[in-house]
């Protein structure tokens, strides 16, 4: 009865459609982060974007006198903070002897720490800022908060990222596999690298609404890790990653909306983990069981 109601309910449909799109974008773009061994960038960018979200909300309030949590306001802030954290990391590691992992760790802490501080301050400031309730949901995700308006923002990001993936497929592929060779045959590595980083930031930031700052890296990396188990080609891997992300995100949102007190992010992550473990164990060729059996037969 409850489930029937969910599928016909307008809000539920918005939430499920939004989550499915978010999962598809994150899952597809996550394959590139995975193959470029930049999984940790996902964690850094998502944590850093909390600062962008809080600042965007605050600036929105200062301008209009009212707190607005529309994704049209928060996502640009999140993207700016995400790109900013990566650029700052690059600047620091380029100018000093600090290595990349330390630089990334520092940026995560600085951006996230400042973001948390501002978040708490906004939540307790007097007089209370209207509309500030729910801002803390970005820590663990709240799919139920997706509105019709947000859905359009999500759709826009999805269309832009998939269009970029399809149009620049060959170049993104060679950039991921062999950037040195790519430069050697005269292709513009730096421009492509910039496009790739922007796409990755979009793939990360888009997940914040449903899985939250803390767990977004899972929506980025788990579908890719699972998909890699089943296929040996990039195209099918990205498609499968998108499908796994999409289905897991939609079902996680559904579970979280059905039962009270279940935050969306952790629900999605638990489902993703299940898919990942199954892939790790049972996939042909790469699966642990397959390999064990093969060793046994040999």
């Amino acid at each position: 009865m409850m489930w029937d109601g969910l599928f016909t309910d307008y809000t539920a449909r918005v939430v499920i459609a939004g989550s499915a799109m978010i999962g598809a974008v994150s899952g597809a773009l996550g394959c590139f982060a995975y193959l470029r061994r930049q999984s940790l960038i996902g964690d850094v960018v998502s944590h850093a974007s909390l600062l962008g979200i809080v600042l965007a909300f605050w600036i929105g309030y200062l301008v209009s006198g009212e707190g607005n949590k529309s994704l049209w306001i928060l996502v640009p802030g999140a993207i700016a903070a995400g790109v900013g954290s990566l650029l700052l990391t690059k600047l620091i590691t380029g100018r000093t002897r600090i290595k990349e992992d330390a630089g990334l760790g520092l940026m995560l802490a600085v951006f996230f720490g400042t973001g948390m501080m501002l978040l708490r301050w906004l939540q307790r400031s007097r007089p209370p800022i209207p509309g500030r309730a729910g801002l803390e949901d970005y820590l663990f995700g709240m799919a139920a908060a997706i509105t019709q308006d947000d859905l359009w923002m999500i759709a826009l990001l999805a269309v832009v990222s998939f269009a970029a993936l399809i149009l620049c497929w060959s170049r993104l592929k060679i950039l991921t596999f062999d950037p040195v060779y790519m430069a050697g045959i005269g292709l513009p590595v730096r421009r492509l690298e910039a496009l790739m980083l922007c796409l990755l930031v979009v793939g990360i930031v888009i997940g914040l609404q449903i899985v939250g700052v803390v767990l977004t890296v899972a929506l980025l990396i788990a579908p890719a890790s699972a998909a890699r188990q089943w296929t040996r080609h990039l195209g099918p891997m990205v498609t499968l990653g998108a499908a796994i992300g999409s289905i897991s995100a939609a079902s996680g949102a559904l579970v979280s909306a059905t039962f009270d007190h279940l935050p969306t992010g952790p629900c999605i992550v638990v489902i993703l983990n299940a898919v990942f473990v199954v892939s790790l164990l049972f996939a042909p060729r790469r699966g642990l069981l397959y390999r064990r059996k093969k060793r046994f037969v040999n």
């Binding site: 062999d178 050697g184 292709l187 990039l234």
Partner: protein, 244 residues
Amino acid sequence: MDFAIQTRQLTVAYGAEPALWSVDVDIPLLGMTGIIGPNGAGKSTLLKAILGTVPTLSGRVELGAGDSSHGSSEIGYVPQRTGVDWDFPTSVLDLVMMGTYGRLKWFQRPGKNERAASMEALRQVQMDEFANRQIGELSVGQQKRVFIARAFVQQASIYLMDEPFAGVDAKTEKMLVEILHRLRDQGNTIVMVHHDLTTVTRYFDHVVLLNRTLVACGSTSEVFTSENIERAYGVPCKPTLDSP
């Protein structure tokens, strides 16, 4: 004599240490040239500077037709094995087809022609039966051959190769040399970083002896002398002058 590649006062540094210091080399058109020198002599750096993938401090590189400041698809490049993820989800044929990407427009994907050219390149290195293999399932020698095939499909006339024989067994090396000599005889220029001093006279028509600065550059018989080798390596060393 016509030159495929000339550098003048080429200087490259990583940080404070110069990797190449005011190097003038003339690499003749046609023929096979070996770049020889001790570890850290800047051999790979010279290749990369010719390709235009490392920033040069000063000096210039001139290719037969114009200069290369940004790399060029007219140069077939075979990098060292390191740096590529062999677990990358792609097949041998896909990897070879990447050699055609330089010709493709931004939004284009490799089509029938690119596929046929790639299969032909794989045939040349006798790897056509491995076309659909996952790249991770290849031996080191097979990986080298696939990289060489990828350079072939660029339809270049100049090939730069960074130690194509490193980690390859003797049989494969012999086969690769035959392929490369055939390529040379078809009217191409091959420039190669090479380590094994005993095979230099057999493999190369020209030699560049390098140790951060240029030691000597010219035809193998004139330049590959014990005196020059000693100057490059800093230790007395007798070249093996085995007949071709």
